[in-house]
Amino acid sequence: MKKSLVITENLSKIYEGSFSVTGVEELTISVPKGAFFCLAGPSGSGKSTLLKLLGGIERPSRGRIYIEGKDLTSMSRSELSFFRLSSLGFVFQELNLISVLTARENVEFGLMLRKFSSKVRREKVMRIMEELGIEGLAERRPSEMSGGQQQRVAVARAVVGNPLLLLADEPTANLDSHATANLIDLIRNLNISKGITCILASHDEQVLKKADKILYLRDGKVSHIEQPEEL
């Protein structure tokens, strides 16, 4: 049995305000290293909230999150920031890229924050862009690329630093079926070839079909778990 990379224990997130809204409630899950894990469920079921909690972007109201044994809930803001930089990769639904930077600079951005030398940065960026087949887009700005191309660049930026975990929130939501298939194949290949654990939130069947395991959420709780063969 594979060792777990991500473990949550009784994880809850309640958004306080005029009305209290429960994002996730008492979630206890475990994601093995190297898994291609999908979160599914209707809008408002807690997929995005769970991803943000796992990414240390939001703090849980209760419970614990461990990623490779490290307790995210006990980390300070700056520790979390460094952890995200060194260990996690993010792909969002849209507006992933810094609009004034070229594709190459966007991919390089995280490496620059990690203070890699320019030579190492250049090599890593060129290698990943070639691997993902986007080397021709290197000098284009986000506004000069299609949605699918932008998402590929976002994936390149997320994985260029060899993260432990790739978190993707509805990465194919704004793509057509062809671009969706391309992007999912790309992420799945990276998952297999580089052993990067992937957790994707999606309700796109094309995405779910590729998953090792699908966690269905409803009202912030796990409603059921499925294997792709069952779809």
Partner: protein, 409 residues
Amino acid sequence: MLTFIAIAWRNVKRNFRRSALTVSIIAFGLGTLNVSNALYEGFHDKMILNAVKIFMGHIQIHAKGFHANPTVEKCFLPFSTSLYSKNPRIKGFSDRIRFQALASTANNSLAVLAVGIDPMREKSVTILEESVVAGSYLSDEKEKKNQCLVGETLSANLRIGIGEKVVLMAQAWDGSLGADAFEIVGICRTGNPEIDRSFLWVPLLSAQEMLSYGERISETVLLLSASSQVLGVQESLKRTIGKSELEILNWKEIAPDIVQIVALDVAMQRVLMLIISIIVVLAIMNTMLMAVQERFMEFGVMLTIGTRPSQVVGMVLAESFFLGLFGVVVGLIVTAIGFTCFRVHGVNLASFSAGVAKLIGLDTTVYPLLRIKQVCISSFFVLASAMLISFVPAIKAARMDPGSALRHI
């Protein structure tokens, strides 16, 4: 940090129209500030120079108490001319007798302020000779000692003209009544209404004779090479002369009203600087708040992937710095253009108000005087204000919770 500076620079370029508008506001503000400062400086300089060159000089030496109460018995024997002529900072000097007199003509009698002057030396100190608008200046020849010059308004009030006689009567030094008749050889228009209305100039020798002064005088007036040397020369004279029965006064002590006008103008300048700075600050803050607001999600993504808050602060500040720097550069160009225009054509303040002549004297056209130090201070002040105020949007961006930013995605 270079990447963040590059991002900041590209963001400035990305919203070209907004950046250009912000730069224009800063440039216009700085240009207005510098040109108005230069005009104020020019106005002060002109006012002081006119006051000094019409009558006052930079430094006056009197018998003690003469300035406060100029009576005829307050006089002194003049010092050797070498005391002044050997000092390279003293451009000119002139001995005078100032006294109140009754001027009588065939048509009228009026109280006047008579000034006994050495015609040659007076030329090195004041512009009296240049202010003669009719007739001629006083002759230096001893046999022509009964000539006089009168102010333009005074000549009209006495209803006399060139070649006519005026009799002066005044209390002499010995208590007797001194009187003498003088032929009017010239009429003066100094531009100072008070002087033109009540002053009358006679040769020093005639005044000394009339007032039984012997060789005594009531004041020595000094004109210096530069206004900045006043305090130094005054102190050096005090040390050299060292007589307690004399008073050595500089123009600020003689005419405190001019100092007050300058002080008032400086206060106005500061208020103007404050108002312009507030406009600049609001323009920058508005631009930067908008820039942060519209890139809310971009900052969220940057913070999510590990950008430190301090790096976000640095990036926003760098954007402000670029805007401020361009604003200052364009502002200096605006300053140069405005300064050149006013330098060539001048501003005739008399066209705004006839009363201004009373303030600044003969020449009412003011030319700007640009002080580099003042320009540097204004530029630094504008840039520093822009940077300082940008901390508000910068900290807002840095403190942004990436979770709430990404909730917008």
